[in-house]
């Protein structure tokens, strides 16, 4: 498509821009992504004296391993990693299953009541959760500071997003596919599990990526709900950095940043093309 566009344009304009575009791209990537990433990795390898005022110079003496060991203990990385996983996995799985079930029925039922329910169910996409009173409610339920409470809160926040994306997707699935299964005597549960769920794979993959990203990196809701009673990666980064423990310990802060970002970065590098095409096809219909 772009090839055809180019052939019809005046030759001079095309060749000038097509020669310039790669240069502009490389410069933009180097300046706006390269420099910040360089700063993180270089500083993570420095000694404390070297990192006192963080700059772009490489470390005079690489200390990656020492910094890693120090941050591992001080930031309680193993328990934070376990806590992050303990909250993220059930929250994401739960939100996808409950969201898909609801979205299927919301997409197929035609009554006015269902239109109202749909509007209410997706309003959480933009409406901010009541962070302070969530704490009060969780205390009354005996769930404050627990993984269960945190999972419930994330589910409440991100269900709207899943319902919105999946409902739009279900509407593009022809009803005939369901009818065929129903003629064979399948009940609603069988139709949903055997026919609908497998077809939802692309949209569920996109939703999984986005929600994993939000939950894995969240510190604001975790601060209110967990209140230091369960370690998660962002919460520990936040606590140690703001407690002044890492005051001017930029080498430790950035070593923590590297460790915390690595899991998502590795997943991204491995599945890069799928993730980008998943989000591009899911975002706009």
């Amino acid at each position: 498509m772009s090839g055809a566009t180019l052939r019809r344009r005046p030759l001079r304009e095309r060749s000038a821009w097509s020669r310039l575009q790669p240069v502009v791209t490389v410069v933009l990537v180097a300046v706006f992504v390269g420099i910040p990433m360089w700063l993180v990795v270089m500083t993570a390898g420095k000694s404390q004296g070297d990192a006192l005022s963080p700059n772009l110079a490489p470390p005079t003496d690489w200390q990656l391993w020492e910094n890693l060991r120090e941050v591992w203990d001080r930031g309680r990385i193993p328990s934070a990693f376990a806590g992050s996983l303990l909250v993220m996995v059930p929250a994401v799985v739960g939100v996808l299953i409950l969201g898909s079930m609801a979205a299927w029925v919301l997409a197929r039922r035609t009554g006015r009541a269902y239109a109202v329910l749909y509007a209410a169910a997706i309003s959480g996409i933009v409406l901010p959760p009541a962070v302070v009173t969530i704490v009060l409610l969780l205390r009354q339920l005996g769930l404050a500071g627990t993984a269960t409470g945190m999972i419930g809160v994330y589910a409440g926040i991100y269900l709207s997003t899943v319902i919105f994306f999946v409902t739009g997707f279900v509407r593009t699935i022809p009803l005939e596919l369901e009818e065929a299964a129903r003629v064979d005597g399948a009940g609603p549960v069988t139709v949903f599990v055997r026919v609908i769920l497998p077809l939802l794979r692309p949209v569920l993959a996109t939703a999984t990526i986005l929600i994993c990203l939000y939950v894995w990196n969240d510190v604001f809701y975790a601060f209110f709900v967990l209140g230091g009673r369960l370690d998660t990666l962002p919460l520990n980064l936040f606590q140690v950095a703001s407690a002044g423990l890492y005051l001017n310990n930029w080498h430790l802060i950035f070593m923590y940043v590297v460790l915390m970002s690595l899991p998502l970065l590795i997943v991204f590098v491995v599945a890069q093309r799928k993730i980008i095409s998943g989000i591009t096809s899911g975002a706009v219909k």
């Binding site: 790669p22 791209t25 933009v126 419930g152 980064l237 936040f238 980008i276």
Partner: protein, 300 residues
């Protein structure tokens, strides 16, 4: 809605083929963890709930008059709104520019798209610390500027009572521009081929064809991206906390920073009041913003 006049028999059938109880688990979770706390917001904003005493009493509009009286309410509202508008503008301008720049499917462009998506994956808190290190008076940016200027540069990028809000909004936009880029790339790729062909036949210059033909066709992508950036950044916290903590002199104290700070001080009722204010502001803005953007889609 298209089937609103469907015969009663169809309705009857729907009930067995798509039973309402499939909704139940999701609705229970939404009710318990989203609706009930929101309802509590409307109750506890009118009490003296705090960590200093055990009983909670109704106090009417005291929290609101107090917060309005000392100017906090309106300054926080104004700062949050300014921040959200700046983020929405920057994030979408950068995202659209990147999408247009990287539209062709070359190996280099695919690499660049992935590179600009890295900040989206990173924790916003980490992004905040990176930019704090870059923008300190003795930080990396001033080092580089000093190298080119040939003298010491010590601009306090995060210490200006007027411009720091713009700098923090730029950081927020930098973090999320990769997502907007993908949304616009998706929009650019799904354009009907015949319309583009007609534009080419006209022989209009490329930039003119873009603004008159292709940009209007991006309307759904613009709606989605602007609305999520605008309404999402009103609920922002991490980047501001990690760069300025609301300073200098509380000029970047958006609502969530205030809520976090007063909650930490044990002033739960004040924090709840601001949480309610945030909820009402987003709710009031969400409907006109989405309707306005939708109407623009229909006109074009």
């Amino acid at each position: 809605m298209a089937h609103a006049s469907a015969p009663a028999a169809d309705r009857q059938r729907e009930r067995t083929t798509h039973p309402g109880w499939f909704l139940l688990p999701a609705l229970v979770v939404l009710a318990v963890f989203f609706v009930v706390p929101t309802v509590f917001n409307f109750v506890y904003a009118f009490t003296d709930w705090s960590s200093f005493k055990s009983e909670i009493n109704a106090v009417g509009f005291d929290n609101f008059t107090q917060l309005a009286g000392n100017g906090t309410l309106f300054s926080s509202l104004r700062i949050t709104l300014v921040y959200a508008v700046l983020v929405a503008i920057f994030q979408n301008v950068f995202g659209l520019a990147l999408a247009v720049l990287l539209e062709r499917d070359t190996a280099l462009n695919r690499f660049a798209r992935a590179a600009f998506f890295i900040p989206v994956l990173m924790s916003a808190l980490a992004v905040g610390y990176i930019f704090q290190a870059l923008l300190k008076p003795d930080g990396a940016l001033n080092d580089v500027l000093g190298f080119f200027a040939g003298r010491d540069v010590t601009t306090p990028w995060l210490g200006d009572t007027t411009w720091t809000i713009v700098v923090v909004a730029l950081i927020h936009a930098w973090k999320w521009m990769g997502l907007s880029m993908l949304i616009y790339l998706a929009g650019l790729k799904t354009m009907p081929e015949d319309i583009l062909e007609a534009a080419r036949m006209d022989g209009a210059p490329a930039w003119k064809a873009f603004w008159t033909i292709r940009f209007p066709l991006l309307a759904p992508a613009v709606t989605f991206s602007v609305a999520t950036a605008l309404l999402g950044s009103m609920n922002g916290f991490d980047i501001v906390q990690a760069t300025t903590e609301g300073g200098p002199a509380r000029t970047t104290e958006i609502l969530n920073i205030f809520i976090y700070r007063t909650f930490g001080q044990g002033l739960f009722a004040q924090a709840t009041t601001m949480s309610l204010v945030l909820f009402l502001m987003v709710a009031l803005l969400a409907f006109p913003v989405i309707r306005m953007l939708r109407r623009r889609e229909e006109i074009l």
